[in-house]
Protein backbone atom coordinates (compact mmCIF):
# COMPACT_ATOMS: atom_id res chain seq x y z
CA UNK A 1 0.00 0.00 0.00
CA UNK A 2 2.08 2.91 -1.20
CA UNK A 3 0.59 6.34 -0.76
CA UNK A 4 0.14 7.73 -4.26
CA UNK A 5 0.79 11.32 -3.44
CA UNK A 6 4.33 12.26 -2.52
CA UNK A 7 5.33 15.77 -1.60
CA UNK A 8 8.45 16.81 -3.45
CA UNK A 9 10.99 18.40 -1.11
CA UNK A 10 11.44 22.02 -2.02
CA UNK A 11 13.94 24.66 -1.04
CA UNK A 12 11.13 27.21 -0.94
CA UNK A 13 10.10 28.23 2.58
CA UNK A 14 6.62 27.19 3.66
CA UNK A 15 4.04 29.94 4.14
CA UNK A 16 0.84 29.94 6.17
CA UNK A 17 -2.31 30.11 4.06
CA UNK A 18 -6.04 29.73 4.50
CA UNK A 19 -7.45 26.79 2.54
CA UNK A 20 -9.74 28.80 0.29
CA UNK A 21 -7.00 31.27 -0.53
CA UNK A 22 -4.37 28.58 -1.09
CA UNK A 23 -6.66 26.83 -3.57
CA UNK A 24 -7.33 30.11 -5.35
CA UNK A 25 -3.63 30.94 -5.58
CA UNK A 26 -2.83 27.41 -6.76
CA UNK A 27 -5.32 27.92 -9.60
CA UNK A 28 -3.78 31.28 -10.46
CA UNK A 29 -0.34 29.64 -10.51
CA UNK A 30 -1.68 26.76 -12.60
CA UNK A 31 -2.49 29.25 -15.35
CA UNK A 32 -6.22 29.64 -14.77
CA UNK A 33 -7.48 32.03 -17.48
CA UNK A 34 -10.90 32.79 -16.08
CA UNK A 35 -12.73 32.51 -12.77
CA UNK A 36 -16.48 32.81 -12.24
CA UNK A 37 -18.17 32.73 -8.85
CA UNK A 38 -20.89 33.94 -6.54
CA UNK A 39 -20.60 34.72 -2.82
CA UNK A 40 -21.50 31.91 -0.44
CA UNK A 41 -20.11 30.90 2.93
CA UNK A 42 -17.73 29.11 3.56
CA UNK A 43 -16.03 29.64 0.17
CA UNK A 44 -16.20 33.44 -0.09
CA UNK A 45 -12.45 33.95 0.47
CA UNK A 46 -11.76 31.99 -2.69
CA UNK A 47 -13.91 34.42 -4.71
CA UNK A 48 -12.33 37.40 -2.93
CA UNK A 49 -8.80 36.16 -3.62
CA UNK A 50 -9.61 35.78 -7.31
CA UNK A 51 -11.29 39.22 -7.38
CA UNK A 52 -7.90 40.71 -6.51
CA UNK A 53 -5.48 38.37 -8.27
CA UNK A 54 -7.09 37.76 -11.66
CA UNK A 55 -7.47 41.42 -12.75
CA UNK A 56 -3.94 42.03 -11.43
CA UNK A 57 -2.71 39.51 -14.01
CA UNK A 58 -5.01 40.70 -16.79
CA UNK A 59 -7.13 37.59 -16.50
CA UNK A 60 -10.90 37.20 -16.32
CA UNK A 61 -12.84 37.50 -13.06
CA UNK A 62 -16.61 37.85 -12.89
CA UNK A 63 -18.85 37.81 -9.85
CA UNK A 64 -21.95 36.43 -11.54
CA UNK A 65 -25.61 37.13 -10.78
CA UNK A 66 -26.07 33.58 -9.46
CA UNK A 67 -24.36 30.21 -9.43
CA UNK A 68 -26.30 29.48 -12.61
CA UNK A 69 -24.72 32.53 -14.20
CA UNK A 70 -21.24 31.59 -12.97
CA UNK A 71 -21.25 28.01 -14.20
CA UNK A 72 -22.69 28.98 -17.59
CA UNK A 73 -20.05 31.67 -18.03
CA UNK A 74 -17.58 28.89 -17.30
CA UNK A 75 -19.23 26.77 -19.98
CA UNK A 76 -18.80 29.54 -22.53
CA UNK A 77 -15.20 30.27 -21.60
CA UNK A 78 -14.33 26.56 -21.52
CA UNK A 79 -15.78 26.12 -25.02
CA UNK A 80 -12.96 28.33 -26.31
CA UNK A 81 -10.33 26.16 -24.60
CA UNK A 82 -9.70 28.55 -21.71
CA UNK A 83 -8.53 27.10 -18.37
CA UNK A 84 -11.49 27.83 -16.10
CA UNK A 85 -12.16 27.66 -12.35
CA UNK A 86 -15.49 27.98 -10.56
CA UNK A 87 -16.07 27.68 -6.83
CA UNK A 88 -19.08 27.49 -4.56
CA UNK A 89 -20.52 25.72 -1.55
CA UNK A 90 -23.24 23.09 -1.31
CA UNK A 91 -26.46 25.04 -2.08
CA UNK A 92 -24.70 26.88 -4.88
CA UNK A 93 -23.28 23.64 -6.26
CA UNK A 94 -26.84 22.29 -6.45
CA UNK A 95 -27.71 25.17 -8.76
CA UNK A 96 -24.77 24.22 -10.99
CA UNK A 97 -26.00 20.69 -11.58
CA UNK A 98 -27.68 21.63 -14.86
CA UNK A 99 -24.63 23.10 -16.55
CA UNK A 100 -22.35 20.37 -15.16
CA UNK A 101 -24.41 17.82 -17.06
CA UNK A 102 -24.19 19.93 -20.22
CA UNK A 103 -20.44 20.31 -19.81
CA UNK A 104 -19.92 16.60 -19.24
CA UNK A 105 -22.01 15.94 -22.35
CA UNK A 106 -20.20 18.60 -24.40
CA UNK A 107 -16.84 17.35 -23.05
CA UNK A 108 -15.72 20.69 -21.69
CA UNK A 109 -12.84 20.80 -19.19
CA UNK A 110 -13.38 22.93 -16.08
CA UNK A 111 -12.58 22.68 -12.38
CA UNK A 112 -15.31 23.25 -9.81
CA UNK A 113 -14.39 23.61 -6.12
CA UNK A 114 -17.13 22.68 -3.64
CA UNK A 115 -16.36 23.86 -0.11
CA UNK A 116 -19.06 21.74 1.52
CA UNK A 117 -21.35 23.04 4.26
CA UNK A 118 -24.12 21.46 6.31
CA UNK A 119 -27.32 20.46 4.52
CA UNK A 120 -29.91 19.69 3.33
CA UNK A 121 -31.49 22.95 2.23
CA UNK A 122 -29.89 26.13 3.42
CA UNK A 123 -28.54 23.94 6.23
CA UNK A 124 -25.70 25.57 8.12
CA UNK A 125 -22.42 27.25 7.30
CA UNK A 126 -20.49 24.62 9.26
CA UNK A 127 -18.28 22.01 7.60
CA UNK A 128 -19.87 18.91 6.15
CA UNK A 129 -19.30 16.00 3.78
CA UNK A 130 -22.96 15.53 2.95
CA UNK A 131 -22.47 16.24 -0.77
CA UNK A 132 -20.60 12.97 -1.37
CA UNK A 133 -23.54 11.46 -3.26
CA UNK A 134 -24.03 14.66 -5.25
CA UNK A 135 -20.36 14.80 -6.19
CA UNK A 136 -19.79 11.14 -6.99
CA UNK A 137 -23.15 9.87 -8.22
CA UNK A 138 -23.84 12.28 -11.02
CA UNK A 139 -24.84 15.71 -9.71
CA UNK A 140 -26.88 16.61 -12.82
CA UNK A 141 -29.12 14.55 -15.09
CA UNK A 142 -28.09 11.84 -17.52
CA UNK A 143 -25.39 9.19 -17.74
CA UNK A 144 -22.13 10.83 -16.85
CA UNK A 145 -19.39 10.67 -14.24
CA UNK A 146 -17.37 13.39 -12.61
CA UNK A 147 -13.78 12.96 -11.41
CA UNK A 148 -13.73 14.10 -7.77
CA UNK A 149 -10.53 14.88 -5.85
CA UNK A 150 -10.65 15.16 -2.06
CA UNK A 151 -7.59 16.67 -0.34
CA UNK A 152 -7.13 16.20 3.39
CA UNK A 153 -4.64 19.02 3.90
CA UNK A 154 -4.21 22.45 2.43
CA UNK A 155 -0.82 21.47 1.02
CA UNK A 156 -2.44 18.51 -0.69
CA UNK A 157 -5.26 20.76 -1.97
CA UNK A 158 -2.67 22.98 -3.65
CA UNK A 159 -1.18 19.97 -5.42
CA UNK A 160 -4.59 18.58 -6.40
CA UNK A 161 -5.65 21.87 -8.02
CA UNK A 162 -3.04 21.22 -10.70
CA UNK A 163 -4.06 17.55 -10.87
CA UNK A 164 -7.69 18.58 -11.30
CA UNK A 165 -6.84 20.80 -14.28
CA UNK A 166 -4.73 17.97 -15.74
CA UNK A 167 -7.54 15.45 -15.45
CA UNK A 168 -10.12 17.94 -16.73
CA UNK A 169 -8.09 18.76 -19.82
CA UNK A 170 -6.66 15.30 -20.50
CA UNK A 171 -10.12 13.73 -20.54
CA UNK A 172 -12.13 16.82 -21.54
CA UNK A 173 -14.41 16.60 -18.52
CA UNK A 174 -15.53 18.86 -15.72
CA UNK A 175 -13.67 17.85 -12.56
CA UNK A 176 -14.45 18.60 -8.92
CA UNK A 177 -12.19 19.46 -6.02
CA UNK A 178 -14.19 18.57 -2.92
CA UNK A 179 -13.28 20.27 0.34
CA UNK A 180 -15.32 21.47 3.32
CA UNK A 181 -15.73 24.37 5.69
CA UNK A 182 -12.82 23.24 7.87
CA UNK A 183 -10.45 22.89 4.93
CA UNK A 184 -11.66 26.21 3.54
CA UNK A 185 -11.28 28.23 6.70
CA UNK A 186 -8.27 26.62 8.40
CA UNK A 187 -4.73 27.90 7.91
CA UNK A 188 -1.83 25.52 7.31
CA UNK A 189 1.69 25.82 6.02
CA UNK A 190 2.08 25.22 2.31
CA UNK A 191 5.18 25.18 0.17
CA UNK A 192 4.66 27.91 -2.42
CA UNK A 193 5.86 25.77 -5.29
CA UNK A 194 3.21 25.15 -7.88
CA UNK A 195 2.78 22.85 -10.85
CA UNK A 196 1.63 24.36 -14.14
CA UNK A 197 -0.27 21.79 -16.22
CA UNK A 198 0.87 21.54 -19.84
CA UNK A 199 -1.69 22.85 -22.35
CA UNK A 200 -3.03 20.15 -24.63
CA UNK A 201 -3.72 21.34 -28.19
CA UNK A 202 -7.01 20.21 -29.66
CA UNK A 203 -9.31 20.51 -32.63
CA UNK A 204 -12.48 21.27 -30.73
CA UNK A 205 -11.95 24.73 -29.19
CA UNK A 206 -14.04 27.58 -30.56
CA UNK A 207 -12.35 30.75 -31.73
CA UNK A 208 -13.88 31.59 -35.10
CA UNK A 209 -13.77 29.42 -38.22
CA UNK A 210 -10.81 31.21 -39.77
CA UNK A 211 -9.40 28.92 -42.45
CA UNK A 212 -11.11 25.81 -41.11
CA UNK A 213 -14.58 24.28 -40.92
CA UNK A 214 -16.85 25.67 -38.19
CA UNK A 215 -16.88 23.78 -34.88
CA UNK A 216 -19.92 23.14 -32.73
CA UNK A 217 -19.84 22.48 -28.98
CA UNK A 218 -23.12 20.77 -28.25
CA UNK A 219 -24.92 18.24 -26.11
CA UNK A 220 -28.08 17.73 -28.20
CA UNK A 221 -28.22 14.51 -30.22
CA UNK A 222 -31.87 14.07 -31.20
CA UNK A 223 -31.37 10.78 -33.03
CA UNK A 224 -31.35 7.98 -30.44
CA UNK A 225 -28.64 6.13 -32.40
CA UNK A 226 -26.42 9.22 -32.29
CA UNK A 227 -26.95 9.78 -28.59
CA UNK A 228 -26.30 6.16 -27.75
CA UNK A 229 -23.05 6.31 -29.73
CA UNK A 230 -22.11 9.49 -27.86
CA UNK A 231 -22.92 7.84 -24.53
CA UNK A 232 -20.76 4.86 -25.45
CA UNK A 233 -17.93 7.25 -26.22
CA UNK A 234 -18.36 8.98 -22.85
CA UNK A 235 -18.53 5.68 -20.98
CA UNK A 236 -15.36 4.42 -22.68
CA UNK A 237 -13.65 7.59 -21.49
CA UNK A 238 -14.92 7.02 -17.94
CA UNK A 239 -13.54 3.43 -18.02
CA UNK A 240 -10.14 4.87 -19.00
CA UNK A 241 -10.31 7.32 -16.10
CA UNK A 242 -11.17 4.44 -13.77
CA UNK A 243 -8.14 2.52 -15.02
CA UNK A 244 -5.65 5.40 -14.80
CA UNK A 245 -6.69 7.98 -12.28
CA UNK A 246 -7.48 6.12 -9.05
CA UNK A 247 -5.68 7.74 -6.11
CA UNK A 248 -5.61 6.82 -2.44
CA UNK A 249 -3.24 6.87 0.50
CA UNK A 250 -2.69 4.38 3.29
CA UNK A 251 -1.30 5.01 6.76
CA UNK A 252 -0.28 2.37 9.34
CA UNK A 253 -2.11 -0.34 7.43
CA UNK A 254 0.75 -2.88 7.48
CA UNK A 255 -0.30 -4.51 10.74
CA UNK A 256 -3.80 -3.03 10.99
CA UNK A 257 -6.70 -5.26 12.01
CA UNK A 258 -9.22 -2.45 11.66
CA UNK A 259 -9.00 0.27 9.01
CA UNK A 260 -10.74 3.59 9.14
CA UNK A 261 -11.92 4.70 5.70
CA UNK A 262 -12.22 8.47 5.59
CA UNK A 263 -11.42 11.40 3.29
CA UNK A 264 -10.80 15.12 3.73
CA UNK A 265 -11.32 16.57 7.19
CA UNK A 266 -12.66 13.26 8.53
CA UNK A 267 -9.35 11.64 7.59
CA UNK A 268 -7.54 14.25 9.70
CA UNK A 269 -9.71 13.39 12.69
CA UNK A 270 -9.18 9.69 12.00
CA UNK A 271 -5.40 10.15 11.99
CA UNK A 272 -5.52 11.59 15.52
CA UNK A 273 -7.88 8.83 16.66
CA UNK A 274 -5.57 6.16 15.23
CA UNK A 275 -2.61 7.46 17.26
CA UNK A 276 -4.67 7.33 20.46
CA UNK A 277 -6.13 3.91 19.69
CA UNK A 278 -2.65 2.52 19.06
CA UNK A 279 -1.62 3.86 22.47
CA UNK A 280 -4.40 1.63 23.81
CA UNK A 281 -3.05 -1.34 21.90
CA UNK A 282 -5.51 -1.39 19.02
CA UNK A 283 -3.88 -2.17 15.65
CA UNK A 284 -5.70 0.31 13.43
CA UNK A 285 -4.80 2.20 10.25
CA UNK A 286 -6.21 4.65 7.74
CA UNK A 287 -7.36 4.05 4.17
CA UNK A 288 -7.89 7.45 2.61
CA UNK A 289 -9.52 7.76 -0.83
CA UNK A 290 -8.13 10.81 -2.68
CA UNK A 291 -10.25 10.24 -5.78
CA UNK A 292 -13.84 9.71 -4.62
CA UNK A 293 -14.66 8.96 -8.25
CA UNK A 294 -13.06 6.88 -9.57
CA UNK A 295 -13.34 5.18 -6.17
CA UNK A 296 -10.27 3.17 -5.12
CA UNK A 297 -12.24 -0.05 -5.01
CA UNK A 298 -9.71 -2.73 -5.85
CA UNK A 299 -7.08 -1.89 -3.25
CA UNK A 300 -9.76 -1.56 -0.58
CA UNK A 301 -11.26 -4.93 -1.50
CA UNK A 302 -7.80 -6.52 -1.29
CA UNK A 303 -7.13 -4.90 2.07
CA UNK A 304 -10.53 -5.93 3.43
CA UNK A 305 -9.72 -9.64 3.16
CA UNK A 306 -7.26 -9.31 6.04
CA UNK A 307 -9.23 -6.91 8.26
CA UNK A 308 -11.56 -7.79 11.11
CA UNK A 309 -13.54 -4.60 10.44
CA UNK A 310 -13.67 -1.32 8.56
CA UNK A 311 -14.91 1.81 10.29
CA UNK A 312 -16.14 4.52 7.92
CA UNK A 313 -15.91 7.99 9.42
CA UNK A 314 -17.59 10.85 7.59
CA UNK A 315 -19.41 14.12 8.17
CA UNK A 316 -22.70 12.84 6.79
CA UNK A 317 -25.43 10.37 7.68
CA UNK A 318 -23.65 7.65 5.71
CA UNK A 319 -22.75 8.18 2.05
CA UNK A 320 -19.11 7.13 1.57
CA UNK A 321 -20.03 4.02 3.55
CA UNK A 322 -22.16 2.81 0.63
CA UNK A 323 -19.18 2.81 -1.75
CA UNK A 324 -17.08 1.06 0.90
CA UNK A 325 -19.73 -1.67 1.28
CA UNK A 326 -19.91 -2.06 -2.51
CA UNK A 327 -16.12 -2.37 -2.65
CA UNK A 328 -15.63 -4.90 0.15
CA UNK A 329 -18.82 -6.96 -0.14
CA UNK A 330 -18.76 -9.62 2.60
CA UNK A 331 -14.98 -9.64 2.93
CA UNK A 332 -15.21 -7.88 6.26
CA UNK A 333 -17.66 -6.11 8.48
CA UNK A 334 -18.28 -2.42 7.68
CA UNK A 335 -19.23 -0.06 10.51
CA UNK A 336 -20.08 3.61 10.37
CA UNK A 337 -19.51 6.69 12.51
CA UNK A 338 -20.86 10.00 11.25
CA UNK A 339 -21.73 13.50 12.42
CA UNK A 340 -23.88 15.89 10.43
CA UNK A 341 -25.15 19.43 10.18
CA UNK A 342 -21.79 21.14 10.60
CA UNK A 343 -20.60 18.93 13.50
CA UNK A 344 -17.14 17.39 13.19
CA UNK A 345 -16.41 13.98 14.75
CA UNK A 346 -13.94 14.21 17.62
CA UNK A 347 -10.93 11.90 17.89
CA UNK A 348 -12.38 10.71 21.22
CA UNK A 349 -15.67 9.69 19.58
CA UNK A 350 -13.76 7.87 16.85
CA UNK A 351 -11.58 6.05 19.43
CA UNK A 352 -14.78 4.95 21.20
CA UNK A 353 -16.19 3.73 17.89
CA UNK A 354 -12.93 1.84 17.24
CA UNK A 355 -13.12 0.20 20.68
CA UNK A 356 -16.71 -0.89 20.04
CA UNK A 357 -15.67 -2.25 16.64
CA UNK A 358 -12.77 -4.10 18.28
CA UNK A 359 -15.06 -5.62 20.90
CA UNK A 360 -17.72 -6.57 18.35
CA UNK A 361 -15.18 -8.44 16.26
CA UNK A 362 -13.34 -10.29 19.06
CA UNK A 363 -14.62 -13.54 17.54
CA UNK A 364 -13.03 -12.65 14.22
CA UNK A 365 -9.33 -12.52 15.12
CA UNK A 366 -6.92 -11.06 12.66
CA UNK A 367 -4.94 -14.26 12.01
CA UNK A 368 -8.10 -16.26 11.43
CA UNK A 369 -9.32 -13.73 8.90
CA UNK A 370 -5.96 -13.74 7.15
CA UNK A 371 -5.83 -17.54 6.87
CA UNK A 372 -9.31 -17.80 5.42
Amino acid sequence: MTPVLATTPSPVRPILMKGNEAIAEAAVQAGCDAYFGYPITPQAELLEWMARRMPELGRVFIQAESELGAINMALGAAATGARVLVSSSSPGVSLMAEAMSYMAASELPMVLVNVMRGGPGLGSIGPSQADYFQATKGHGHGDYRLPVLAPSSIAEAVDLVATAFEIAERYRTPTMLLTDGVMGQAMEPIVPSFRVPVRIPGTWQLGGADGRRPRIVRSLHLQPEDLEAHNRHLQAKYRTIEEREVRWAGERLEDAEIAIVAYGTSARVARSAIERARDHGLAVGLYRPITLWPFPTEALAALATRLRAILVVEMSSGQLVEDVRLAVGDRTCVLFHGRTGGMVPTPGDVVDALRRAWAMTEDRPFEARRSR
Binding site: M73, G76, A77, I216
Partner: protein, 261 residues
Amino acid sequence: MTTQDLQTTDTRRRIYRRPESLTDRSTHYCPGCGHGIVHRIVAELLDELALGPRTIGVASVGCSVFAYDYLDVDFVESPHGRAPAVATGVRRVKPDAFVFTYQGDGDLAAIGTAEIVHAAARGERISVIFVNNGIYGMTGGQMAPTTLLGQRTTSSPAGREAATMGYPIPITEMLAILPGVAYAARGSIADPGAIGRTKAMIRRSFEIQLAGGTFSIVEVLSTCPVGWGMTATASMEHLARDVVATYPLGVMVDRPAGAEG
Protein backbone atom coordinates in the same frame (compact mmCIF):
# COMPACT_ATOMS: atom_id res chain seq x y z
CA MET B 1 -17.22 34.14 -56.72
CA THR B 2 -18.66 37.60 -56.28
CA THR B 3 -21.53 39.33 -58.05
CA GLN B 4 -18.90 41.26 -59.99
CA ASP B 5 -17.37 38.06 -61.36
CA LEU B 6 -20.74 36.76 -62.45
CA GLN B 7 -21.53 39.97 -64.27
CA THR B 8 -18.41 39.69 -66.39
CA THR B 9 -19.27 36.17 -67.56
CA ASP B 10 -23.03 36.45 -67.78
CA THR B 11 -25.22 39.32 -68.87
CA ARG B 12 -27.90 38.28 -66.38
CA ARG B 13 -27.61 39.98 -63.01
CA ARG B 14 -27.87 37.76 -59.95
CA ILE B 15 -29.92 39.55 -57.28
CA TYR B 16 -30.63 36.73 -54.85
CA ARG B 17 -28.45 33.95 -53.60
CA ARG B 18 -27.76 31.87 -50.57
CA PRO B 19 -25.38 33.77 -48.25
CA GLU B 20 -22.09 31.97 -47.75
CA SER B 21 -22.71 31.90 -43.99
CA LEU B 22 -25.92 29.93 -44.54
CA THR B 23 -25.53 26.18 -45.09
CA ASP B 24 -27.46 24.60 -47.96
CA ARG B 25 -29.33 22.29 -45.62
CA SER B 26 -33.16 22.31 -45.64
CA THR B 27 -34.32 23.69 -42.30
CA HIS B 28 -36.49 21.74 -39.87
CA TYR B 29 -38.69 24.80 -39.35
CA CYS B 30 -42.43 24.58 -40.10
CA PRO B 31 -43.92 26.31 -43.16
CA GLY B 32 -44.59 29.95 -42.30
CA CYS B 33 -42.14 30.01 -39.38
CA GLY B 34 -40.05 33.17 -39.16
CA HIS B 35 -36.77 31.55 -38.07
CA GLY B 36 -35.68 30.95 -41.67
CA ILE B 37 -36.05 34.66 -42.45
CA VAL B 38 -34.13 35.73 -39.34
CA HIS B 39 -31.41 33.14 -40.02
CA ARG B 40 -31.03 34.56 -43.51
CA ILE B 41 -30.77 38.13 -42.22
CA VAL B 42 -28.04 37.08 -39.76
CA ALA B 43 -26.18 35.14 -42.46
CA GLU B 44 -26.34 38.04 -44.91
CA LEU B 45 -24.91 40.38 -42.29
CA LEU B 46 -22.15 37.94 -41.32
CA ASP B 47 -21.19 37.93 -45.01
CA GLU B 48 -21.57 41.66 -45.57
CA LEU B 49 -19.48 42.52 -42.53
CA ALA B 50 -17.02 39.65 -43.22
CA LEU B 51 -17.52 38.32 -39.70
CA GLY B 52 -17.60 34.56 -40.35
CA PRO B 53 -13.95 33.84 -39.47
CA ARG B 54 -14.17 35.54 -36.07
CA THR B 55 -17.73 34.70 -35.04
CA ILE B 56 -18.78 32.52 -32.11
CA GLY B 57 -22.54 32.03 -32.01
CA VAL B 58 -24.37 30.97 -28.86
CA ALA B 59 -27.39 28.75 -29.43
CA SER B 60 -30.26 28.50 -26.98
CA VAL B 61 -32.97 25.93 -26.29
CA GLY B 62 -36.16 25.86 -28.34
CA CYS B 63 -36.88 25.49 -32.05
CA SER B 64 -33.80 27.54 -32.89
CA VAL B 65 -31.37 25.29 -31.02
CA PHE B 66 -30.38 23.96 -34.43
CA ALA B 67 -29.29 27.42 -35.63
CA TYR B 68 -25.79 25.90 -35.77
CA ASP B 69 -26.94 23.53 -38.50
CA TYR B 70 -27.80 26.50 -40.73
CA LEU B 71 -25.45 29.31 -39.72
CA ASP B 72 -22.00 28.17 -40.84
CA VAL B 73 -19.89 29.56 -37.99
CA ASP B 74 -18.45 28.31 -34.69
CA PHE B 75 -21.25 27.69 -32.20
CA VAL B 76 -21.72 26.68 -28.58
CA GLU B 77 -25.02 25.36 -27.30
CA SER B 78 -26.35 26.65 -23.96
CA PRO B 79 -28.63 25.22 -21.33
CA HIS B 80 -32.16 26.69 -21.51
CA GLY B 81 -32.10 30.45 -20.89
CA ARG B 82 -28.38 30.64 -20.13
CA ALA B 83 -27.13 31.87 -23.50
CA PRO B 84 -26.28 35.39 -22.25
CA ALA B 85 -24.13 33.90 -19.46
CA VAL B 86 -22.45 31.50 -21.90
CA ALA B 87 -21.86 34.41 -24.30
CA THR B 88 -20.36 36.39 -21.41
CA GLY B 89 -17.85 33.61 -20.79
CA VAL B 90 -16.96 33.46 -24.48
CA ARG B 91 -16.70 37.24 -24.79
CA ARG B 92 -14.42 37.72 -21.81
CA VAL B 93 -11.83 35.17 -22.86
CA LYS B 94 -12.08 36.02 -26.60
CA PRO B 95 -12.02 39.82 -26.73
CA ASP B 96 -11.51 39.83 -30.51
CA ALA B 97 -14.34 37.47 -31.39
CA PHE B 98 -17.73 38.56 -32.69
CA VAL B 99 -20.24 37.05 -30.25
CA PHE B 100 -24.00 36.80 -30.64
CA THR B 101 -26.80 34.84 -29.02
CA TYR B 102 -29.90 33.64 -30.87
CA GLN B 103 -32.76 33.09 -28.43
CA GLY B 104 -36.50 32.61 -28.46
CA ASP B 105 -39.00 34.21 -26.10
CA GLY B 106 -39.46 31.20 -23.82
CA ASP B 107 -35.69 31.01 -23.47
CA LEU B 108 -34.96 34.71 -23.02
CA ALA B 109 -38.11 36.11 -21.37
CA ALA B 110 -39.00 33.23 -19.01
CA ILE B 111 -36.33 30.82 -17.80
CA GLY B 112 -33.45 33.08 -18.84
CA THR B 113 -34.67 36.36 -17.37
CA ALA B 114 -31.88 36.68 -14.82
CA GLU B 115 -29.15 35.90 -17.35
CA ILE B 116 -30.37 38.44 -19.95
CA VAL B 117 -30.92 41.19 -17.37
CA HIS B 118 -27.47 40.80 -15.85
CA ALA B 119 -25.64 40.48 -19.17
CA ALA B 120 -27.35 43.75 -20.13
CA ALA B 121 -26.60 45.33 -16.74
CA ARG B 122 -22.91 44.44 -17.08
CA GLY B 123 -22.96 45.93 -20.57
CA GLU B 124 -21.47 42.77 -22.06
CA ARG B 125 -20.21 43.44 -25.57
CA ILE B 126 -22.54 40.94 -27.25
CA SER B 127 -25.39 41.10 -29.76
CA VAL B 128 -28.63 39.38 -28.81
CA ILE B 129 -31.06 38.26 -31.52
CA PHE B 130 -34.34 37.72 -29.67
CA VAL B 131 -36.97 36.00 -31.82
CA ASN B 132 -40.38 36.50 -30.20
CA ASN B 133 -43.26 34.44 -31.51
CA GLY B 134 -45.24 34.54 -28.27
CA ILE B 135 -45.33 30.80 -27.69
CA TYR B 136 -43.29 27.69 -26.82
CA GLY B 137 -43.12 26.21 -30.31
CA MET B 138 -40.83 23.24 -29.80
CA THR B 139 -42.74 21.69 -26.91
CA GLY B 140 -46.13 21.95 -28.61
CA GLY B 141 -47.45 25.49 -28.37
CA GLN B 142 -47.69 26.29 -24.67
CA MET B 143 -48.19 29.79 -23.26
CA ALA B 144 -45.06 31.93 -22.99
CA PRO B 145 -44.56 35.09 -20.90
CA THR B 146 -44.90 36.94 -24.21
CA THR B 147 -48.23 35.33 -25.21
CA LEU B 148 -50.89 37.96 -25.98
CA LEU B 149 -53.87 38.44 -23.66
CA GLY B 150 -56.73 36.30 -24.86
CA GLN B 151 -54.44 34.07 -26.94
CA ARG B 152 -55.33 30.38 -26.84
CA THR B 153 -52.41 27.99 -26.37
CA THR B 154 -52.19 24.37 -25.27
CA SER B 155 -51.58 25.55 -21.69
CA SER B 156 -54.06 28.45 -21.80
CA PRO B 157 -56.85 26.66 -23.66
CA ALA B 158 -59.49 29.28 -22.75
CA GLY B 159 -57.12 32.11 -23.69
CA ARG B 160 -54.56 33.97 -21.57
CA GLU B 161 -56.29 36.00 -18.87
CA ALA B 162 -54.37 38.56 -16.88
CA ALA B 163 -55.93 37.70 -13.52
CA THR B 164 -54.27 34.30 -13.24
CA MET B 165 -51.65 34.30 -16.00
CA GLY B 166 -50.32 37.84 -15.88
CA TYR B 167 -49.49 40.17 -18.73
CA PRO B 168 -47.25 39.92 -21.79
CA ILE B 169 -43.74 40.97 -20.79
CA PRO B 170 -42.11 43.79 -22.81
CA ILE B 171 -38.64 42.66 -21.91
CA THR B 172 -36.78 44.67 -24.54
CA GLU B 173 -38.28 47.91 -23.17
CA MET B 174 -37.28 46.74 -19.68
CA LEU B 175 -33.70 46.13 -20.80
CA ALA B 176 -33.55 49.46 -22.67
CA ILE B 177 -33.57 51.43 -19.41
CA LEU B 178 -30.29 49.84 -18.27
CA PRO B 179 -27.25 52.07 -18.85
CA GLY B 180 -25.19 49.07 -20.04
CA VAL B 181 -27.46 48.69 -23.07
CA ALA B 182 -26.11 50.46 -26.15
CA TYR B 183 -28.91 49.53 -28.49
CA ALA B 184 -32.39 48.03 -28.12
CA ALA B 185 -34.87 47.76 -30.95
CA ARG B 186 -37.85 45.74 -32.09
CA GLY B 187 -38.56 44.72 -35.67
CA SER B 188 -40.75 42.14 -37.36
CA ILE B 189 -40.76 39.80 -40.33
CA ALA B 190 -44.38 40.53 -41.32
CA ASP B 191 -43.57 41.87 -44.81
CA PRO B 192 -40.56 42.71 -46.99
CA GLY B 193 -40.43 46.30 -45.73
CA ALA B 194 -40.41 45.14 -42.12
CA ILE B 195 -37.73 42.56 -42.92
CA GLY B 196 -35.54 45.28 -44.43
CA ARG B 197 -35.97 47.48 -41.36
CA THR B 198 -35.23 44.52 -39.07
CA LYS B 199 -32.07 43.78 -41.01
CA ALA B 200 -30.99 47.41 -40.55
CA MET B 201 -31.54 47.04 -36.79
CA ILE B 202 -29.47 43.86 -36.58
CA ARG B 203 -26.77 45.50 -38.71
CA ARG B 204 -26.70 48.39 -36.24
CA SER B 205 -26.39 45.95 -33.35
CA PHE B 206 -23.49 44.14 -35.03
CA GLU B 207 -21.72 47.38 -35.95
CA ILE B 208 -22.00 48.65 -32.38
CA GLN B 209 -20.29 45.51 -31.11
CA LEU B 210 -17.56 45.83 -33.76
CA ALA B 211 -16.99 49.44 -32.71
CA GLY B 212 -16.48 48.34 -29.10
CA GLY B 213 -19.95 49.29 -27.88
CA THR B 214 -21.74 47.46 -25.10
CA PHE B 215 -24.77 45.17 -25.02
CA SER B 216 -27.33 45.32 -27.81
CA ILE B 217 -30.57 43.47 -28.41
CA VAL B 218 -32.85 43.27 -31.41
CA GLU B 219 -36.21 41.69 -30.75
CA VAL B 220 -37.75 40.25 -33.90
CA LEU B 221 -41.50 39.63 -33.79
CA SER B 222 -42.05 36.36 -35.59
CA THR B 223 -44.67 33.75 -36.39
CA CYS B 224 -45.59 30.25 -35.24
CA PRO B 225 -48.42 29.15 -37.54
CA VAL B 226 -48.57 25.67 -36.02
CA GLY B 227 -48.58 26.93 -32.42
CA TRP B 228 -51.00 29.72 -33.25
CA GLY B 229 -53.36 27.38 -35.12
CA MET B 230 -53.26 29.54 -38.26
CA THR B 231 -52.20 29.24 -41.87
CA ALA B 232 -48.88 30.79 -42.79
CA THR B 233 -50.67 33.69 -44.48
CA ALA B 234 -53.08 34.29 -41.60
CA SER B 235 -50.22 34.22 -39.10
CA MET B 236 -48.36 36.96 -41.02
CA GLU B 237 -51.54 39.06 -40.99
CA HIS B 238 -52.00 38.40 -37.27
CA LEU B 239 -48.39 39.40 -36.66
CA ALA B 240 -48.71 42.68 -38.58
CA ARG B 241 -52.07 43.62 -37.05
CA ASP B 242 -52.38 42.15 -33.50
CA VAL B 243 -48.92 41.27 -32.24
CA VAL B 244 -47.50 44.65 -33.21
CA ALA B 245 -50.31 46.32 -31.24
CA THR B 246 -48.94 44.78 -28.03
CA TYR B 247 -45.27 45.05 -29.00
CA PRO B 248 -44.69 48.36 -30.82
CA LEU B 249 -41.93 48.39 -33.44
CA GLY B 250 -39.01 50.77 -33.38
CA VAL B 251 -35.71 51.69 -31.78
CA MET B 252 -35.96 52.08 -28.00
CA VAL B 253 -32.43 53.20 -27.35
CA ASP B 254 -29.38 53.88 -29.52
CA ARG B 255 -26.40 55.12 -27.53
CA PRO B 256 -23.39 53.31 -28.97
CA ALA B 257 -21.07 54.62 -26.29
CA GLY B 258 -23.08 52.44 -23.88
CA ALA B 259 -22.72 53.21 -20.21
CA GLU B 260 -20.42 56.13 -20.99
CA GLY B 261 -23.00 57.73 -23.30
